[in-house]
């Protein structure tokens, strides 16, 4: 095993066999130590939320990772590879140009479902609205609000905390499960609200002109929401949303309408938490 151990000889057998063994051990050890050191570093510089989203996005089923431009009809079939952050997507500007030429994007409300277009929508069912004072209001869209319903506990971020896009913005506990809601945009928390105020967070954006290219707007948001309602109908099997296509309406509180386990699974899927 070692040169000083009885039985060791400096011959080809010992050198080749033990050399190969020590090489393997060193590779395995170095790999694990490297992973440990890098993990420690990432935890220290508070990159945990970025990793959480990377993992969550990677684990989302393909049907939940459709590119926004597929929903919009600009491309037949495309999976998002950028964690729904169109700002880092090379193809996004091309698709935007193509979309500008189209005039058939729907506007307004959906099945009696309010979709105010004064705000921008995130794929995790939150919205962002630029206020006159330069701050950003963040809230849950109508579907998100009906999904979560009345939470038993709300864990909002602390004032002054900086949020990154797609990091956990807040979490809501209900029916024995905790549902996390993604931040639609980066910014520093100035105030916290709740379901009764109609908004959850007031953020100070990172710059004077916050980059919102990754958020859905106008007709494409309506089209996306229509697809989300279809998805919800497929997921919820217990008749909480039985007849949207026939003019029926989504129940006000899905948390009360669905069995607990199914509700948690549906929330996870719709709010992009696999």
């Amino acid at each position: 095993m070692f040169p000083w151990v009885n039985g060791f000889k400096w011959d080809a057998g010992h050198v080749i066999f033990l050399g190969a063994f020590y090489t393997v051990v060193m590779i395995v050890l170095a790999t694990v130590v490297r992973a440990l050191v890098r993990s420690r570093h990432h935890v220290r510089v508070e990159k945990v939320e970025a990793f959480r989203w990377k993992q969550d996005f990677h684990d989302l089923p393909a049907r939940d990772r459709r590119c926004r431009h597929e929903l919009n009809g600009e491309v037949d079939s495309r999976l998002c590879e950028n964690g729904f952050d169109c700002r880092s997507c090379a193809k996004h500007p091309e698709f935007v140009q193509a979309a500008a030429a189209r005039a058939d994007l729907p506007k307004g409300e959906l099945f009696g479902f309010p979709m105010p277009l004064d705000r921008l929508y995130h794929r995790g069912h939150t919205w962002v609205r630029k206020e006159k004072d330069g701050t950003l209001s963040v809230g849950l869209d109508e579907l998100g609000a009906r999904l979560i319903g009345k939470p038993e506990r709300l864990d909002l971020p602390e004032l002054g905390q900086h949020l990154n896009a797609n990091a956990t913005a807040w979490s809501a506990a209900r029916n024995g499960a905790t549902i996390r809601v993604l931040a639609p945009i980066e910014g520093t928390v100035l105030a916290t609200g709740g379901p009764d105020q109609g908004w959850y967070l007031k953020l100070r954006p990172d710059g004077p002109q916050p980059d919102t290219r990754h958020l859905l707007r106008d007709g494409e948001a309506v089209r996306w929401m229509s697809r989300e309602l279809d998805r919800l109908q497929l997921l919820a099997t217990h008749g909480a949303c039985p007849a949207l296509a026939d003019g029926g309406a989504l129940v006000e509180d899905l948390g009360a309408a669905l069995p607990k386990n199914e509700w948690a699974a549906v929330c996870g899927e719709m709010l992009l938490e696999p």
Partner: protein, 410 residues
């Protein structure tokens, strides 16, 4: 009760039902541990092995289990090195199977060798010219690699990933998985090979002895190839079994067929090489040692039929079925062929272990028979129970089949 530990969107039975499932396996494990304890504390007189019949049920089943567990290294090699992404659907399950198989085999070896407190002697004073030393080092290293590969699965548990350091460590481990897959392939190649090699170098046992290709006897390469061939088949069979027990579809049918095809390709190459090896052994090796091949097949029940069964019935036939796309598309054919392939490798390990030792080699030798004691059987049943328990817990609390949720939603 344990719902918060189960990944969202996965359907699992109630805690009570799950505990009821675990109960008989736990009892079997307890019985097996008692049997193993007897062997460890009272010695190998608890077994029916002796100085003449030194390899018995344990070594035969160890070799089989290690060959079947090869799905872990081979699937890892295909996914992370050859980038066959569709096999990601079964890689997690393959890792758990590998971990169970290897840890179980190492535990049984520990009972077989005895004196576990002196196990470190093997590493401290290695005989570098022994195939068994190579096996010991490689299996220990590979078991460590498998444990590290299992770690990301574990850390991905819904509750554990709430701990920030676990979440990030899992991510970082996942990024270096190709390194571990490469190391695992290297180690598996050598220990699977050395397990075969240790029979091939038995010059005093002409039934097993084979001529060398380079420094290794031909059995070195045949063991590697046969293990790689049946690994995917065993992953396929276990996946189907879990589907049947749980009532959920876990992977796309195309993944099953892909596993079957991989098995088929490797199996046909193995059958070809095994046939050549047998012909060389019959016409050159055995006569060179002063024997005739018929001598080895004259002791019932080990007639020529066993050679035919090993190469044709459980080798060539499943290989042909698995290579035929039309037959592969039928689940009955696919599963039967995969089962035959796995049985074939088990038969090969049986022949190499039991038949080799049972046959007389010296004029005053007689044909020996051996039947395992209940302690030997009990010890191995403990490994089976342990495997079922680890796999069941992993299936319930970890994501073993990433396609499961998607398939359920369809």
């Amino acid at each position: 009760m344990d719902r918060s530990y189960i990944a969202r969107g996965l359907e699992r039975c109630t805690t009570r039902r799950f505990l009821m499932w675990l109960l008989p396996w736990t009892l079997l494990l307890a019985f097996g541990l008692y049997a193993a304890g007897l062997c460890l504390f009272k010695g190998l007189n608890q077994t029916n092995m002796d100085n003449r019949f030194a390899f018995g049920l344990w070594i035969f089943l160890d070799l089989t289990v290690i060959a079947l567990g090869a799905g872990a290294f081979f699937t890892g090699f295909l996914v992370y090195i050859l980038r066959m992404h569709e096999l990601k659907a079964v890689i997690n399950s393959a890792v758990v199977i590998g971990l169970v198989c290897y840890s179980g085999a190492v535990t049984v070896l520990m009972v077989d060798v005895g004196q576990p407190l002196r196990a470190w002697f093997t590493f401290w004073h290695p005989n570098v010219h022994s195939m068994l030393t190579e096996v010991t080092f490689c299996i220990t290293c590979y078991l460590t690699v498998l444990a590290i590969e299992y770690l990301p699965l574990l850390l991905k548990n819904r509750r554990l990933r709430q701990v920030p350091s676990f979440l990030v460590f899992e991510f970082e481990l996942h990024r270096v998985m190709y390194v571990l897959a490469g190391v695992g392939t290297f180690l598996s190649f050598f220990h699977q090979g050395s397990l075969g090699g240790l029979y091939g170098v038995l010059r005093g046992r002409p039934f097993a002895f084979r001529e060398a290709l380079g420094v290794w006897p031909s059995t070195f390469f045949l063991f590697v190839l046969s293990a790689a061939a049946v690994g995917p088949s065993f992953v396929l069979l276990t996946t189907w079994l879990v589907e049947k027990i749980t009532g959920h579809q876990l992977v796309e049918r195309t993944v099953m067929q892909k596993l079957g095809r991989l098995s088929g390709v490797l199996l046909i190459v193995y059958v070809l090489l095994k046939t050549i090896d047998t012909l060389v052994w019959m016409n050159r090796t055995v006569p060179g040692e002063g024997f005739s091949p018929q001598q080895f097949y004259g002791f019932e029940p080990f007639g020529v039929w066993i050679l035919f069964a090993e190469i044709v019935v459980f080798g060539l036939l499943p290989a042909v079925v698995l290579l035929d796309a039309r037959r592969r598309a039928s689940q009955a054919w696919l599963l039967t062929a995969a089962g035959f392939a796995c049985f074939g490798v088990a038969l090969n390990r049986f022949v190499m272990t039991i038949q080799t030792l049972a046959l007389p080699t010296l004029p005053f030798d007689r044909f020996l028979s051996y039947w395992p004691s209940w302690q030997e059987v009990g010890t191995f049943l403990a490994v089976v129970a342990y495997g079922v328990l680890v796999y069941s817990l992993s299936y319930r609390y970890l994501i073993l089949f990433p396609q499961e949720r998607d398939l359920k939603a369809r």
